[in-house]
Structures are given as C-alpha cells and as structure tokens.
Amino acid sequence: MDSCWCCPVQELYVDAFLHNNRLEHMVQVMSFHPDYLACFLKTQQYMLRCYGPLPYDYRHFIAIMAAARHQCSYLIGIQTNEFLLQGGDERWLKGLSHIPKKLQDLYELNKIMAHRPWLISRAHIERLTQGNDNWSIAELTHAVVLLAHFHSLASFVYGCGINAELDQSDGHSFESPGNGGGNSGKSPLSRSPHSLTGSSAHEMEGGIEVLMEKMRRLTEEAAAEEVTQEELLKRFERVETLSAELPAASKQAFSPKEDILCYVDDAEFTYQDFAKRGQPTELPTFRAQDYSWEDHGFSLANRLYPDIGTYLDDKFNTAYNLTYFTMGDNTDVDTSSFRRSIWNYIHCMFGIRHDDYDYCEVNQLLERNLKAYVKTVTCFPERVTRRDYDSFMREFKHSEKVHVNLMVLEARMQAELLYALRAINRYMT
C-alpha cells in the first residue's frame, strides 16, 4: 500500500472499528478505495445506528432478512450478532414464523425487491401501510433503504469472495485449494495480485489493449451514424435478452444451510430476465429520465427519512465517478465510458433504460466473461465462484475488480431504490 493513502485508510479503520467493534473483512477489501469506503461507512452507520424511524432490533432483523434472500451467511452472522447486542428477541432468530406480524408483512416486498424489483407496485405499498399494526410511510422508507442496501451488499460479499470472520462458524475451517467453488468464497486477496496475469491473459477475448482501443474508437466515431429509435430500442432489448445467458445453475451448487433457510420463504423466487417478464405493455421499461435518483428519488427519500438522501447521493456519486485513470498497468486512461457501460448494463438487467445511452456500447466494451460475471454477481450472487472472479478481465488488478464489484453494489442498490421509491411516490399521490 502506498503511504500516501495509508493515513486516511487508518482513520477509516479506526472509524469502522469504533462503529462495529470489529474490522470486518468486507471493510478491509473496500479499503482499496478509501474515498468510497468513507461514504459507505457513514451511510451504513447512519441507517443502522443513528436517528431513524425504525427500532434498532428491527433494523438488524431486516438486514438479516435481506441478506438471507441471497443466503449470505457472512452478513447474516454479523447482523445476528448486532441484533442480539441491540437487545433483540432471541426467539425471532428461530425463523420467520417467530417474528412479529409487521415484519412478516415486509417479507413479500423483500422478496420482490431482491429479485424482480420491477414488479413492485402501488398495491404492495398500500397493503403494508394499511390495516392494523401497519407501517408508516417513514418506517417503510427506512426499511426499503435497508433492504436495498443489504441485498446489494450481499452481491458485493459474494462478488469479492469475502472470507468469513474469524469468530464465525466456518471462519477458520480448512478447505482444500482445489475446491474453489460453491458459496464458501475464499478471499482472493490473500494471494499475490499478479499471480493471475500470466500467460493466459492473451487467450482472452482481447484484454485491456483491445478494450482501450475500443473505447478510443467509440469516442472518436461518436458523430457517425444516425440511429432510429427502433434501432436503439432493439439494441436495448438485445442487451437485455442476450445479457450473457447464464448456464443453468447446478442444483447442488448452493445448498443453503438450515440456519439460513429459516429466514427464507419461497426460495424458488429468483431473478428472471426482465425481457421475459411477460406482457411488456403492463410492465414498460423504466425510463431513467422520468424518475431519476437525483431529482425524484432523492427528494422523496430525504423527505421521508431525513438526511438519508444526502448520504446515499454521496455514495452513489462517489461510486459512479470513482476513477484513478488507470486500467491494469496502463495509466492516464479515461475509463468513463467503460464505467458507464457497466452501470447502465446493471440498470438494464432491471429494466431501467437511459434514453441518452447507446446500448451498443455495452456489447462492445464488456467482454463475455465480464458480462457473465457482472450478471451473476448482480442477480445470482450465491452462484459466484472463484473461477468466475479469476476469469474476467485477467489483466485487471484486484483493486479494479473490487471497483467493478462496488459499481455492481451501487447500481443495483439504486435500481432497487428507484423502483421502490417510485411505488411509494405513486402511493402517496
């Protein structure tokens, strides 16, 4: 680590330790990007432990429920600890049937938000906010933010293969080196960063050289052809459908343990391609211009749950604009088009369309392995394996791979929030 950014990292570590009473592996991995980590810690601290309409035990239990949608035992472990420290009722940990009705009601929203957020409608919000023991709109906003945060955090944890904490049950178990699959992700960061960029780098679809060339070409020929709306729409749909057909999941790959299953209801409900959603007329694509985070999402969130908008806005902006102008060993690279294509590709998987973006770029800039990886991490994080992590963009450094994962985290969170907040907005009007 360079000494120049060592100091802020240390500061952040101190902060993280003071907040959580531990320095989680997750935080250590994020410290590749100290600017982002600072925002992340502030936001997480705010929504879990500072002012907010929900009681503390509720917050942590919602986090458990959210993490359980992706069978993320790492987050469940940490949040269970926190839950108990906040004086949570131990009986709740026996499973969903033992929790208050109010939390049970939230489960439907949790499920949909995690996998198919485009299905969230006014009716869901209405059901939660009416009747006995209902959710107030402010509480619901808080819950929605927590859900989105922990869904996408699960993506990050799997995507980077965060090791279990030492005090967790499988935190110090031995695993044979050959067995790099399954959901017991091993920290890739324990190996030397350059062991991957070996001879195999060039058998890939191109590597960084080609990517940079493509980026350069894209900016140069920007003023080229005129494209009709149909063509653009087709491109969007092509990206949407062709978005790296994932191989069918091998059933034994994830066999969630008993202690997680008790938090899961309807485990069969998983991500389904937005393009296959059935009637496109009933569920039109989400136009990013008509309900954007900066304008509408922020205003609504901040109104219902004071200050959260500012924190999230900071976090989104930092993640979206984060760049060191490097790519692999090359410096002085304008990575904006690459970053934007990843961001928009993730939004595209959730059916959010940016009018001002030519989705052709996604296919040009993102190689197949990368797309497959991003899609797995976003939609089926529990299926990510060490091999997936190694095989995309082999020339990328670890910090850059973590960067990609951060983008997944934030873009996914924003997508979920946009759908949920739009539903709340519609309910309120």
Partner: protein, 750 residues
C-alpha cells in the same frame, strides 16, 4: 380557465411571440394549440412521420421569439431538434443536432433578440450555442457539472445564467467561452430552475432540490421562500415586481404564486392539476393569465381571479396560556378592520383617504398584534391560573412504594388540603372500589361514601358558582351580570376596531394601537371561552367537577345553563348513589365498575386534568390499563409529561416516564442518552468514542491492572488518580493495599 386533455404526460410548454399559440411536449405528445377564448384548438401535431423516434419526444421546448415559425426542442437522447412550421411537408422537422451532447439535454433557449441563436444545456456539463444559419455549433461552454437550466438575461445582450447540478449558478458572457464571468453557490443540491426578472435588472431567482426559492440581487441573497417540496420550475409574474410562480417536482400539484417579501404563505395558489406541474408560462405582459402543463396530461389556462388565496383561509387568531397564568393573544389587524361595521367615523374621512390599496399591496401590509395579558386584580384567579394545585399535587402525590389503600388515602388528603374535594373523593372511591373487598369494608364508610358525593356534589356546584361569580366581579368591576358582561365586551371590541380603522386609514404603515388597545385584562378570556364551549363534554360526571381546573372556567355556559346544571348535578348525584348501592346491599355480587372508572378518567382527561387521569392510571396499574385505549394512555402521559416539563419538574417527569410502563412513553427516556467526554490529557472533546483521543492518538482511561482501555465504569482512587476496571480494582484490593500502578499510594475506595 379552461383546459384540454392530451394523450400522455407533458414535460414542458412554450408560448409563441404574441401568445396566440402554445406548444406542449412530452414523451408521447408534441402538439401546437391555438389559444381561443374558451378552449384550445389543435393546430399541428408534430409527432408525425415515418419513423417516430426519440427526437419526437422532448424534455424541453422553446419558441423563437422573433420568427414565429421556428421551434426548438431538447430530446432525452441528447439531440437538439429545430422545427420549422413553414415547411410544406407533413413532417416539420428542420434539423437534428445529433451527438452534440453526450447526455440528455435539459434546456433549450433562444436568444431574446437574435432569432438565429439557440443555446442548449445538457447533463454532460456543456452548453452549446448553435447558429441556425450555419446549422452548426458556434461556441461551447463547459460548466463542469450537469446543466439544469439556462436563461438569457433579457436586459443584457451577451449575458446568460446557467443553473448547475452542484448547486452553483454561473453567469456567462457569450464572448468568453473559456470561463464563466461569475459563479456563486445558490443552493444545497441541484438547482432546477432559474429566472431573470424582466423589469428589475440583475434580479435573478433560483430554485432547487433543497426546497427553496431564492431571489438574488447581484451577489446578495435578498429573499428566500421555503416551499414544501423540491421546486421544479419558477417564473416571475409579469408586471408584479415581487411575485413569482412556482411548481413542485413531486407530491405537490399546485402552482403557487409567492410574494417574495412574505415567504410563509403563497399569495395565490392554483390547484387544478392532479399530478405534478411541469411547466408554467405567463401570457406576455399580462399578469392575470398563465398556462401550465402537467404530468396528468392536461394543459390549463389559468385566470388569476380563479386562484385560491391561502392567506385568507389561515387562522387569523392565535392564543396561548403560559404556565404562570398570563395569556398571549395574537390577531391579524385585518380581522379587526373586517369585522368593523361601517360606522360614521369612517364616512367622516376626506375622500382622498378612502382609496383602498391594491390587493397585492394589501397582501403585504398585513400586520398582526401580539398582546400579553396578566391577571392582576384577582388573587384567587391568579391562584387558579398559576396552577399551584397542579404543582403541589405533582410534587406530593404518592404513586408507588406503599399499598394502594395508603397511596389513595394520602392523595385524597392532599387533595382535601387544597380544597379539591372532588379529586379527594375520587381517590377515596378508588380506594374503596379496589381495596375495599379485601378488608370486607364495614357498611358505614360506604354509606358515607354514598352520601358524600351527593351532598358534596351539589355543594360543590353551588360553591363554585358563587365563587365564579366573585371571580367574574373582580375581573370586570363594571358589569353586574355575566350576560351583560359579554355583550359589553363585544361592543367594546368593535369600538376599538373602529379607532383602529381610522388610524389605519390615515397612515397605513404605522401601527399605533399597541398602547391603547386593552385596558381590561380579562378581555382575553373571550376567544378562549368560545373554544371551550364546543369542546365541553356534557356528561354528568364532568359537570360535577367543573371549576376544579381553570380550563373549564366557562361563564356563559354556566350562566345560560345554571338551572339546568343544578338539575343535572342533582341527577348525577342520584345516579352515583344508585351505582354505588349494590356493594352496600350485598357485597357478594360482583359489580363491574371498571367501565365507570374508565369513563371517569376519560372525562377528567378531556376536561384538561390529565394529572388525575395519569396518576390514577399509575396507581391502578393493570387493574385499569387493559380497559383503556393504548393511544389514549399514551396521549395522556405525553401531555402530563409535557406539562411537568413546563413547570420544570424534570425529576418528577422522569419518574412518571419510568412508571408509565408504556413502550412509547418509556422510549422518551432512551432519547439522547449520549454524553461526550473530553480527553483527560489534551481536553479535546471525544466525539468518536469515549476511550480514544484523535489528537493524543492514544487510548485513554487504561486500567492500571490489565492495561486495556476501560469502556464502562472506571473505578478511581481520588488520592493518586489511578484506577481501572471496577472488578479488577476490587480483585486487586482483596490482596493488596497499594495502588496497582506502583505509585506507592495507599488507595482508598469507599
């Protein structure tokens, strides 16, 4: 006012030069209407052609102010489109500037005086100036962040202002493309809209996500209006110097017109739309007509006379009573003048003075009076108002610690000593009802208990009535009967208004009434007693206790219903007797008195005596709680705690919170429980944690036994100021006498 409904949500609208036509655009709509007297007539549909692409939907549209056939629109895909209505073909698209902007375009605007100059601002941070003769970009300005709005300065040929996503406003000179002339931070968060004032040079108004509308004068921020939601668009009202119209980005669907000098209430508001308003446009030089487009797919033409005036609906009177018995009363001076009958004093004024100011000016001339009244000439009333009984009972009531019977007896005695016999009786009854059974109460106390309420009650009302009359007399020495008093009162009120009116006519800016206004302090009771009249519960129990709390001092009712009341109280006495008889006759049959107790507590609380209700609940505990509404209990507790807070009885309030046993009330004690300490070495406040100092970079409060930081209780020797974990020190002292640090001190802990 009329409107038309279109087939999709609208994003924007624009008027042509002479305001005879309006163009509206949205994602699925792009049409031009001509403005008729009673309706909009569709003239042209611009969304025609072989392939309708995103260039046909717009996020902003502008009409050329010189050449009436030219239009420009900003498409969401980043293109800027120019339309020519004179084209013979069906499609009016003249030119499309593709790939000029990388992100979507937020705003297009024509130059005020040059028909060939078109400026666009985009999310990618660039503003491009197009020359329509060359059909090309002639210059480009980089704002460094997303551009949300641009506006040419109408009084300055080369200047335009840009609103940026980061909250800045930039003033540009078109001749200098490299850098802005001036930049200042206007808002916290994105600025969504800005508008130059048409008449006042250098006046600029901005609005943003932070829910503010600000008017800036060169660099100084002069006026700020706080709205209830993020502001999407603002527009100055023509010919009215201080008026600005605004619409919200979400949740609020009305168009508000504000007078920036009065930022708390809109001057006028138009509530026709059913979804967010996206565009406002005033008819040129006509302050009475404007158009608005909305997400609910409608285009409205509003006339100013249709507006609702929120200020007129606002409550013009406010009143509050302090804990020490003084009354504050605020009222709008409009109220006085409007209720004033047109008396002769008015007509005597010379005709010159009669000119009433314009409505918008009236809006600004609103002043209000704030008067404070104290009761001075009636010791008893003061006594009553100071609520000394409240303070004393709050201090001395026993609520726990002893058996219920003892507690009740104590509280009853206390109430007796303050001549609050009704309350005392209540406590005794509670004791009897809930503790009587076990003692197998002898008949005699029951009998007295039965007889007592009756006599007590009637006596009480009588005494109280006389007492009240006395109070009355003391307060208003000039009135003999209450009924007259009230009449006189209102007469005086109006008369006073007259004087006021005259003053007002002579000099509308000065307000001379403060000193002369009120000589009789008791006048202040007038509005309050009106309020009470409506909320007065009329069940017999509450009638009995009238007068116990000052809030039920209610002369007129007493006066009008005096006879009735006597009858009622007698009746209620009988009722109580009947109800109390069964345990007397046969104390074996169970009698469900809980509902009765509940009603009693409710009536106490509704009369304003939450103290009795709350203390009774605490004493009764689970005997009564299941029968009461959770919400009620919470409300009563909260208001009692609030009252205690006003009397600064914090400890008492905390005790009540602790004894409440109600989760929401109990949570009050959990709020703001953090105490920040200072570093013992450098005195820097420790904000992050109690055991780590950022400056000293070391751990504080290290335990002298285990050398680890102490996070909880720190045991401390006051002789040598060493110490550590409580249990470590305890263990240490079992075997040693000296300080664990080895300083040689013989530590003493008590």
């Amino acid at each position: 006012m009329h409107h038309t409904i279109l087939e999709g949500p609208l994003n924007c609208l624009a008027l042509n030069r002479d305001c005879s036509q309006v163009v509206v655009a949205g994602r699925n709509v792009f049409k031009i209407f001509s403005i008729e007297d009673q309706e909009f007539q569709e003239k042209v549909n611009l969304r025609v052609g072989r392939n309708i692409n995103l260039n046909y939907s717009a996020s902003d549209v502008a009409w050329n102010p010189i050449q009436d056939h030219l239009l420009a629109s900003a498409a969401t895909n980043g293109a800027v489109v120019v339309w020519d209505l004179n084209r013979v073909s069906r499609s009016k698209q003249e030119h499309v500037f593709n790939n000029v902007h990388k992100r979507f375009v937020n705003k297009v605007v024509f130059h005020v005086h040059e028909s060939d100059m078109l400026l666009s601002g985009s999310q990618d941070g660039y503003m491009k100036l197009f020359d329509l003769r060359k059909a090309d970009v002639s210059s480009s300005f980089h704002g460094r962040d997303g551009v949300k709005d641009i506006q040419y300065n109408p009084s300055h040929y080369f200047t335009f202002a840009a609103a940026l996503e980061n909250g800045n406003i930039q003033i540009w000179d078109m001749r200098n493309t490299s850098r802005w002339e001036r930049q200042f931070t206007a808002h916290n968060g994105p600025v969504f809209s800005l508008d130059w004032h048409t008449d006042e040079k250098m006046w600029i108004a901005t609005a943003g996500r932070d829910r503010m509308i600000k008017q800036q004068n060169r660099v100084r921020n002069t006026h700020t209006v706080q709205t209830i939601a993020s502001v999407a668009k603002i527009k100055w009202r023509p010919q009215r110097k201080f008026h600005i119209s605004s619409c919200s980005l979400l949740l609020d669907f009305s168009v508000n017109v504000w007078d920036i000098r009065r930022p708390y209430v809109p001057f006028a508001s138009f509530n026709e739309h059913k979804d967010c308003v996206t565009g406002i446009s005033w008819k040129q030089n006509n302050p009475h007509v404007f158009f608005s487009s909305s997400k609910d797919s409608t285009l409205y033409q509003h006339m100013f006379r249709d507006a609702t005036r929120p200020a007129n609906d606002a409550n013009p009177v406010g009143i509050s009573i302090s804990v020490h018995g003084s009354v504050a009363y605020a009222s709008s001076d409009k109220l006085n003048s409007s209720t004033t009958p047109r008396s002769n004093s008015y007509s005597r004024l010379p005709a010159v003075w009669k000119r009433t100011p314009e409505r918008s000016e009236q809006f600004m001339m609103v002043t209000s009076l704030l008067n404070e009244f104290e009761i001075i000439n009636s010791a008893e009333a003061v006594e009553d108002f100071c609520m000394s009984w409240f303070i004393r009972s709050a201090r001395e009531y026993k609520l726990s610690g002893r058996s219920m019977a003892e507690v009740c007896e104590h509280n009853a005695k206390l109430a007796d000593s303050m001549k609050r016999h009704q309350i005392a009786q209540t406590w005794r009854m509670l004791k009897l009802l809930y503790c009587g059974k076990s003692k197998k109460a002898p008949p005699s106390p029951v009998a007295t208990a039965i007889n007592n309420p009756k006599t007590e009650v009637t006596k009480d009302t009588d005494a109280e009535r006389t007492e009240k009359q006395e109070v009355k007399k003391e307060e208003k020495p000039d009135t003999s009967t209450v009924g007259h008093g009230i009449k006189n009162h209102s007469d005086f009120f109006f008369g006073d208004g007259d004087v006021d009116q005259a003053v007002y006519e002579y000099d509308s800016h000065r307000n001379m009434q403060d000193g002369q206004e009120w000589s009789l302090p008791s006048e202040a009771f007038q509005p309050r007693h009106e309020i009470k009249e409506t909320s007065q519960p009329l069940d017999p129990l509450s009638e009995n206790t009238k007068g116990e709390s000052p809030s039920s001092v209610n002369e007129s009712e007493l006066n009008s219903k005096r006879n009735e009341q006597v009858a009622l109280s007698a009746q209620s006495g009988i009722k109580q007797e009947i109800l109390l008889t069964p345990p007397f006759n046969s104390h074996l049959s169970p009698w469900h008195f809980t509902t009765l107790v509940r009603d009693m507590l409710q009536s106490y609380a509704e009369k304003g005596d939450v103290q009795t209700a709350v203390t009774a609940i605490i004493v009764l505990g689970d005997r009564i709680k299941p029968h009461l509404d959770e919400l009620h209990i919470e409300q009563w507790f909260m208001s009692y705690i609030d009252l205690l807070g006003r009397f600064e009885m914090w400890t008492r309030a905390t005790e009540i919170i602790r004894m409440s046993g109600h989760p929401a009330v109990g949570a009050l004690n959990q709020l703001s429980t953090t105490i920040h300490t200072h570093c013992s070495q450098c005195s820097k406040p420790l904000l992050r944690s109690g055991w780590l100092c950022d400056r000293c970079n070391g751990q504080l409060n290290v335990c002298s036994v285990c050398h680890l930081p102490v996070r909880g209780l720190y045991a401390w020797c006051q002789g040598c100021s060493h110490g550590g974990h409580l249990h470590h020190i305890r263990d240490w002292l079992k075997t040693y006498q000296h300080c664990p640090t080895g300083c040689g001190h013989l530590c003493e802990y008590t």
